[in-house]
C-alpha cells in the first residue's frame, strides 16, 4: 500500500470546498475554529498591552505633575488626526470583510487598498511626530533633555529647582520623571506602530490575493483570512482608542 493511498480517501465534500483543512470536517467548524483562535490571539495581545498600561497608570498616579507637563509637548492635532484616520480605516476594513463575504473581489480589493492608504497616513503622521521629538531631544535615551518640556510649559527654573506651581522639583528629578513619561510614550506608541506596520504588510498580501481572486473570477474564495485580519486590525484600532486619551489628552488636564 503506497503512501499516496494511505492518505485519507478525499471525501466528496472536500472537493467542493478546496480550502477546507484536512483536520476539519465541515467549513463551519473551520470558520469557528479560526474565529476563536483569532480571539485567543487578541486576548493575549490585550494582556500584552495591558502590562504597559498598568505600568503607565502606576507612574501617572505617582508623578502626576511631571506627566502633565511632559504631555503638553504632544500635539493634540496629530493625535486626533491619527484617531480619525484609524477609525476610518476600521470602517474600510469592515467594508472589505463584507465584500469578501459576498465574494465581490473587486470591492474587496478597493476597500483593502483604502485601508492600507489610511494606515500609511497614520504611519506618516507618526514619522512626523517622532522626528519632531527627535530634534527636541525628547527620545528617552542618553541624549534626553527636558529643555523642550520646560520651555513648552513656560516653567521657571532657578538654582536648579523647577517650579511646577503646586510644588518644586530638582531639575535632575524633573528630567528623570519626564524621561519616564517619554519612555512609556515611545514604548507604547512604538509597539502600536509596529503592530500597524505588520497590519499593512498582511493587508498588502490580502490585496494581492484579492486581485488574483478577482482576475481569475474564483467563484467562492475563502473569506476567513480577510475576516481574521479584520479582527486584528480592529484590535489595533482599539489599542489606539485607549492610547489617545490617556497619553495625548491626559484626561482633562
Amino acid at each position: 500500500m503506497s503512501v499516496r493511498e494511505a492518505e485519507l480517501p478525499l471525501a466528496e465534500h472536500r472537493r467542493e470546498v478546496p480550502h477546507l483543512g484536512e483536520q476539519y470536517e465541515t467549513i463551519e467548524q473551520q470558520n469557528d475554529a479560526y474565529t476563536i483562535g483569532m480571539w485567543a490571539f487578541i486576548v493575549q495581545e490585550v494582556l500584552f498591552f495591558g502590562g504597559l498600561f498598568a505600568g503607565y497608570a502606576v507612574y501617572r498616579f505617582k508623578y502626576l505633575y511631571e506627566f502633565v507637563a511632559a504631555h503638553h509637548t504632544l500635539s493634540i492635532f496629530f493625535g486626533t488626526l491619527n484617531t480619525f484616520v484609524l477609525l476610518v480605516s476600521s470602517y474600510t476594513m469592515a467594508r472589505a470583510v463584507r465584500a469578501a463575504m459576498q465574494q465581490k473581489h473587486d470591492k474587496q480589493l478597493k476597500y483593502l487598498l483604502w485601508t492600507i492608504f489610511f494606515a500609511s497616513i497614520f504611519m506618516v503622521n507618526k514619522y512626523f511626530e517622532y522626528s519632531e521629538k527627535y530634534h527636541a531631544h525628547l527620545i528617552p535615551s542618553y541624549s534626553y533633555s527636558a529643555e523642550k518640556v520646560i520651555h513648552y510649559n513656560h516653567l521657571k527654573v532657578e538654582n536648579g529647582m523647577v517650579d511646577l506651581g503646586a510644588r518644586k522639583v530638582t531639575l535632575e528629578e524633573f528630567t528623570g520623571r519626564t524621561k519616564l513619561f517619554f519612555s512609556f510614550y515611545f514604548i507604547m506608541t512604538g509597539l502600536h506602530g509596529l503592530h500597524v506596520l505588520a497590519g499593512i504588510i498582511v493587508l498588502a498580501i490580502l490585496a494581492v490575493r484579492a486581485y488574483m481572486d478577482w482576475v481569475r473570477k474564483v467563484p467562492h474564495a475563502d473569506y476567513m483570512p480577510v475576516e481574521m485580519v479584520g479582527l486584528y486590525w480592529h484590535f489595533v484600532d482599539i489599542v489606539w482608542i485607549f492610547l489617545f486619551p490617556l497619553l495625548y489628552l491626559m484626561g482633562g488636564q
Binding site: 538654582n159 536648579g160 529647582m161 517650579d163 511646577l164 503646586a166 510644588r167 518644586k168 522639583v169 530638582t170 535632575e172 528629578e173
Partner: protein
Amino acid sequence: MWSIPFVPPTASKEGETISALYWTISWLAVFFGSIVLFGAIYLAVKYRASNEAARRSDAVETDMKLELTWTLLPLVLALAIFAWSAKLYAGIYAPREGAYEVFVIGKQWMWHCQHPNGVRENNELHLPAGRLIKVNAISQDVIHAFSIPAFRVKRDVVPGRYNTMFFTPTKPGKYHLFCTEYCGTKHSEMIGWVYVMPPEEFEKWLAGGGAAAAPTAMSLEEQGKQVFEGVGACNTCHMNPNSAVKAPDLRGLFGKKVKLADGSTVVADEAYIRESILNPAAKVVAGYQAAMPSYQGVLSEEQVIQLIAYIKSLANQKPAGGQ
C-alpha cells in the same frame, strides 16, 4: 563531634509565637501527608489485581458527602491558620509605639547599622534584651533583605523607601544575620552577627561608645544638630526669628498631624521628614511657600538619618508662636 542542629534558636517574643504556628502547620502537614502517602500505598496494595479477596464495587463513582468533607475540612483548617498568621504578621510589620529604633542601611555586600546615640556598626548589631526594637531599613543600590533567623523576622531592604519591622529580643546571645534577597556577586558574604545583651550590660556598651566600633562619642541628635547648623544650613530659615524666608517651626513637629497646601493632612513620620528633606516640594505645609531647596545628592543617607533624629529630639519642645 558533629552536633547537627535541627532547629534554629528562638530568641525573640515574636519568634516563640511564630515557631508555635510553624510547628502547628508542620504537624498538620505530617498528619495529612501520612494519610495520603501511606493510605495510597496501603490501598494500592490491598486492592492489587492479584488479590481477589478484596471486596470490589464499581458502583460508587462519586459520593457528595465524602467530597464535601474533604473540601470543607481543609478549608476550615486553612482559614484558622490564616487568621492566626495574619495577626502575627501585623504584629511584626504594623507600627508600634515606644520602640528602641535602629537605622539599617544595606549597600552592596555589607550592612551598616546606626544606633540613636550615634554608635555605628558594620555587619554587627548589639541589641538590648527584653525591649521592643524597631528596625528602619533602606538600601543604597539593589534590593537586599535584613534577615535574623533566630528572631524569625526578615524585611526586604528596598532602595528609595524605608521598610520597618518590630520585634522583641529575649534570650541574650550571638545570632546569625543574613542578606536573603539576591543582590549580586558577594550576596553570600553579606552576613553578620546580632548580639543580644542584658539591658544594663547593653547600656554600658552603648555609653562606652560601643567599645571598638564608634569613633565619635556624639549621639545621633548631636550629629544631627551639627548637620542642621553646619552643612545643611537649615537654621538659616527654620527656627530663626530674623530669617527672610518664612519656614515651618520644627519644634513639636515629629509624630503630629501636618496640614498640607493641597488640603490633605499627613502624619510627620520619618518618611515624611526624609521626603521633605530630599524633595521638599512634594508635601508643602499649608500656609508656606515651596521655597526650600532639595538636598538630594547634597546630604548622604547617614546625614539624613541624623537630621531626622535631631528633629525627633525637638518633638517635646513647644514651638515658639508665630513662626
